[in-house]
């Protein structure tokens, strides 16, 4: 996983609640067996008209937000489908941080496995950053994971909280699977015990 330490860049505002993962990346991008090019499909129906031409009104089609690295949005961001194509498409577009009042559970986990930092802030703080993100003069921000701060263009900072273990894994780009495999002995012990108490769960062996 790509490390996340500090991110400096343009923030784009999508001032809507309940952005679901179907909006983030629609179904036609789920059939391929590659992550390449998913950034093109990010927010597809907001970004393109029926002929696949760019819609000039949408923020990610405008300068300077075409190169946005940070997104600011409303509550319950990432609800719906578990498709990991959502964080993959954000990554492929170049967005590595989303700031919102709340996130859906599965999307949150998926982002944490893809080096994307999700920052949950109070609605008041989100509104401040949302307004900043809407104006070219103030839309540049610095997100620092080590210090747990978002620095606005006027140099004032907003503090955020993050789960300590997630912070550690993001800062170091750690791979969960490798870490868990170090616990293989414990898993084996669990299985031996469960096989005795619940033998019917060992379909292949006991049934």
């Amino acid at each position: 996983m790509k490390k996340f330490t500090q991110l400096k860049g343009t923030a784009a505002a999508i001032d809507k609640i309940n952005i679901d993962t179907d909006q983030i990346i629609p179904k036609q991008y789920l059939t391929a067996i590659t992550k390449a090019g998913l950034g093109k499909g990010l927010f597809h129906d907001f970004r393109y008209d029926m002929n696949d031409d760019e819609l000039p009104d949408f923020v990610l089609n405008q300068d300077p937000w075409k190169n946005a690295k940070i997104l600011v949005s409303g509550e319950n961001f990432g609800c719906g489908s578990s498709r990991e194509h959502a964080p993959w498409s954000l990554n492929d577009f170049g967005i590595r941080c989303v700031i919102a009042p709340s996130f859906a559970d599965i999307f949150f986990n998926n982002c944490s496995k893809n080096g994307i930092l999700l920052i949950a802030l109070s609605e008041k703080d989100v509104n401040v950053l949302m307004n900043d993100a809407k104006h070219p003069a103030t839309c540049s921000m610095i997100v620092d994971l080590l210090d747990q701060t978002v620095t606005r263009s006027n140099s004032s900072t907003i503090q955020f909280t993050i789960d300590a273990s997630l912070k550690y894994r993001l800062l170091n780009g750690l791979d969960d699977i490798e870490l868990t495999l170090l616990q293989s002995d414990h898993i084996k012990v669990f299985e031996e015990k469960q096989k005795l108490s619940h033998p019917w769960l060992y379909y292949g062996e006991s049934n």
């Binding site: 179907d22 067996i33 609800c79 719906g80 859906a104 599965i106 986990n109 699977i177 414990h186 619940h198």
Partner: protein, 474 residues
Amino acid sequence: MDDVYKSTPKTLFDKIWDSHVVLENDDGTSLIYIDMHLTHEVTSWTGFEYLRDTGKLVRRTDKTLAVPDHSIPTINQAEGINDPIAREQVEALIKNTEDFKIPYIPLLDIRQGIVHVIGPEQGVTQPGSTLVCGDSHTATHGAFGCLAFGIGSSEVGHVLATQTLIQRRPKNMKIEIHGKAGAGITGKDIILSVIGQIGTAGGTGHVIEYVGQSINDLSMEGRMTLCNMTIEGGARAGLIAPDEKTFEYLKNKNYAPNSDHWEKAKDFWKSLRTDEGAKYDKIVSLDAKNLAPQVTWGTSPENVAPVTGHVPDPNQIENNQERNSVSEALEYMDLKPGHPINEIGISRVFIGSCTNSRIEDIRAAAEVAQGQKIANGVSAMVVPGSGLVKKQAEKEGLDKILKEAGFEWREPGCSMCIAMNDDRLAPGERCASTSNRNFKGRQGRGGRTHLVSPAMAAAAAIKGHFVDIRDFMA
């Protein structure tokens, strides 16, 4: 493992969780053992890619089961998959299951179907166990008192390699459905009404346990519909304590405990009830007695009203963002505030999906369609959830009733719930759908989805607009 059940009072969720903790980490996360892993073509390929790249194997091939369902056609399946990209995806699943020796149910097998329909049918969904799948509607399996939740592709890789997941313990939420639901009120109406009450983020961070008379009264199919849409209320898992109906459903299923273990398993399953005095972090109550059939009018499952109601007026909503969200939804849905729900006309009907494609759903649709014809200008399709559902329905002659009424009778798959194949809405088309999500563009770009129960969808097909099923059947 059983000793963990004896200390402080525990919820059903606590019992299952505690008996699956392999390790508790210092940071508050736990390593949880997964008893069954269901996989399909869309979200598993990166997991296998990872195993290949790092030279790893699948830890428990006996606790993994694969089936194609999302991107397959629901017509002429015997002729193969026309879409070359979808074909490549299914072929990758076949190769991955062969290379890693995972049981695979092929497209043309009678057992094939939507992953959340076939799990229970094959008996891999068992009370007191943990089950995951790279699909958010894995919540379905909670109907059996099975702790089941959707995961992303990275977590699919994690389960393939380790048969475990690193998770933070969710909170307990109880939803009590008091009273007896009236005739024509289904699990779908109950869950839509719940989501309308708690909102799409109401269950975030929680596992929901459903209790109450209306829940006890539901069939296993109805309970699956209810648990299925738990994710639409923000909770990854829903749970219903197992009872005689659960045991009866599971008896003699392929993966269910055989006669050597059946009685012991059943005794254990009977212990899977929330202890008296156990604490919930959140409790929501609802009365089913006066519940009317539900219809969604917007672009989020929480945008729901009784069929006897009206499209709401955004100007009466105080919160800015919510008002804008409802206005935008009404614009997308081309609906005016105050419009009676039962006067909304539809031109498409979809009966299917992991929410409502089981035998009881097909029976409900056929009962409505019996001796009727669908309205002029309406096109309607019924997509059974599995080969076994299809076979049973055909044995009962339901396919004939539906076809005579003008419905198309398809082959099993996810179909127009996710619209990854050719089954989709054209821009502007309005659909009565038994699926689970009315998100913008979900069933086809510009398509307008109204979520309803199977009987309500069938009645809408016949009338060309929504009708109160209680009047229709009277």
